[in-house]
Amino acid sequence: MSHLGGPLDTSGMLAVGPPGGPLRARGRPRTALRSTLVAVVSTVVVFGILVWITVNAPGWAEVQVSFFNATVFTNAFPDIVAAFWLNIQLFAIAEVLILVLALVLAVFRSLPGPVFFPLRFLATIYADIFRAVPGVLVIYILGFGIPGLGLPGIPTDPFPYAVIALTLIYSAYVSEVYRAGIESVHPSQEAAARSLGLTRLQALRYVILPQAVRRVIPPLLNDFIGLQKDTVLVSYIGVVEIFRQSQITQQARFNYTPYMATALVFIAVTIPLARLTDILVSRDRRRAAASAR
């Protein structure tokens, strides 16, 4: 490889033998043990350094008192968990509405031909607007604007507006996920369905959507995780959910530990879902590899 600037000479690398060959297979158990050891040691070192820096920081004593106060934690935790019930209701109701509304939007956008231009146009504008406007603003505008109209019979409780706002915001994202799934199904599938006499809607319902939805379950779960966290945004319009509750406790006790408790609740709920998403992704990858043979 003395020729500078010339094409990369790979003959020397190839002579070593392909990776995963007999040499490597024989050494595998010892390699695995060593990899685990390296991982453990490097993790302990990295986190050890981080902890050491934190507890030796000049302000650590005050931070410890105001963020990691065991008494405050024990007292605040039941209220915080109770308030989380509202978040669960929020995202459970909103998620169902999102899955339906987003699917309708995605189907609108995938309809071909000039007849359906208005529907495609509406769905496109919708996705553009609700992805452009920050979620907090949508929540504010709906939560204060609609009750502000003073229409008779309209609810004054902020909860329904919170659900509607989250649904509107997330449907824009989720419809794009669905659309990607629909477009990933090969056109020959629709041709096969139509050639058997199925209508366009039947082809969509029985052939295209089942394949599309299956493929996008991992990204859908990902958006679901985002929705769980974004339920705290509705505290801005006066819904006393987990974040607002922790704020109330914090202000009553002049201590930030309730925020740590809230963070802990979200971690406990979100991590299982994140792992489930990972499992589904890797299962899909294995399946794809198996069917490609």
């Binding site: 020959s188 599938q189 041709a191 096969a192 369905a193 139509r194 050639s195 058997l196 006499g197 199925l198 209508t199 039947q202 029985y206 052939v207 089942p210 394949q211 299956r214 198996a290 069917s291």
Partner: protein
């Protein structure tokens, strides 16, 4: 116009089709009588597949008429879904529905289009699967089947709609050589049963055996057609001779 029993199964009259600026079909005239088997041969890109897709209304034509059992299926206002019920098509790449079992693949259209009761649709599908040696595969998903089995399921799926005309679009081109025979055997069996078929194929030996008539397509036109003996022994057109010469050199005849 009402369909009549005496009309040919298919009449293609002066059909033109372009993709953008590229003409693919340049005036096709072709008649397929009831119970007749017609093979379309010709180089890749000569328009065989496009012609089949046009007959099944998967591609709109630019000019001409396509008449199926006496009914002009390109006339405005024709219900394409009703037309397709009577015309089956089998694709080169099988196009089975990967999320459904073999049985569901076969019964979907009878249930949703013909509105058969699930039990009746299943019974009819099983009879067909049995006839083509696939009954023990009814619960499998397509990715668990060999290419030959998948293509046989695709043929059964088309047959389940009880079509008056079956279009076969190079159905063995995506198969490993050792799997071709089982699929061709199915088509032979259909021909014996009197199924009207229009077959685009590269299998010249098969075309010679099975066809009542062979059409040679060249650059979007039917250059020559006739009974297989004449087409393969004494083709008249120079281009047909050259095409068959090349096929012979490749050992495919």
């Amino acid at each position: 116009m009402a369909p009549t029993a005496t009309a040919p199964a298919l009449a293609v009259e002066g059909v033109h089709k372009s993709f953008g600026q590229t003409p693919v079909l340049r005036g096709i005239d072709l008649t397929v009588a009831q119970h007749e088997v017609v093979c379309l041969i010709g180089a890749s890109g000569s328009g065989k597949s496009t012609l089949l897709r046009c007959v099944n209304l998967l591609e709109p034509i630019d000019a001409g008429r396509i008449v199926v059992a006496g009914e002009d299926i390109c006339a405005p206002g024709v219900d394409v879904n009703r037309v397709r019920r009577r015309i089956g098509i089998v694709f080169q790449a099988f196009n089975l529905f990967p999320h459904m079992s073999v049985l569901d693949n076969v019964t979907l259209a009878p249930r949703k289009v013909l509105h058969l009761a699930p039990a009746e649709a299943a019974a009819r599908a099983l009879a067909l699967l049995e006839r083509f040696g696939l009954a023990d595969r009814q619960r499998e998903f397509p990715d668990r089947l060999s290419g030959g089995q998948q293509q046989r399921v695709a043929i059964v799926r088309a047959l389940a709609m009880d079509p008056q005309l079956l279009l076969l679009d190079e159905v063995t081109s995506a198969l490993d050589p050792e799997l071709v025979a089982e699929v061709l055997a199915v088509i032979r069996e259909l021909a014996r049963g009197g199924m009207t078929m229009l077959i685009a194929t590269h299998e010249m030996g098969f075309a010679r055996d099975i066809a009542n008539r062979v059409c040679f397509l060249d650059a979007g036109r039917i250059l020559e057609d006739g009974p297989p003996e004449q087409m393969f022994r004494a083709p008249r057109a120079e281009r047909t001779q050259r095409f068959l010469q090349r096929v012979m050199e490749a050992g495919r005849l």
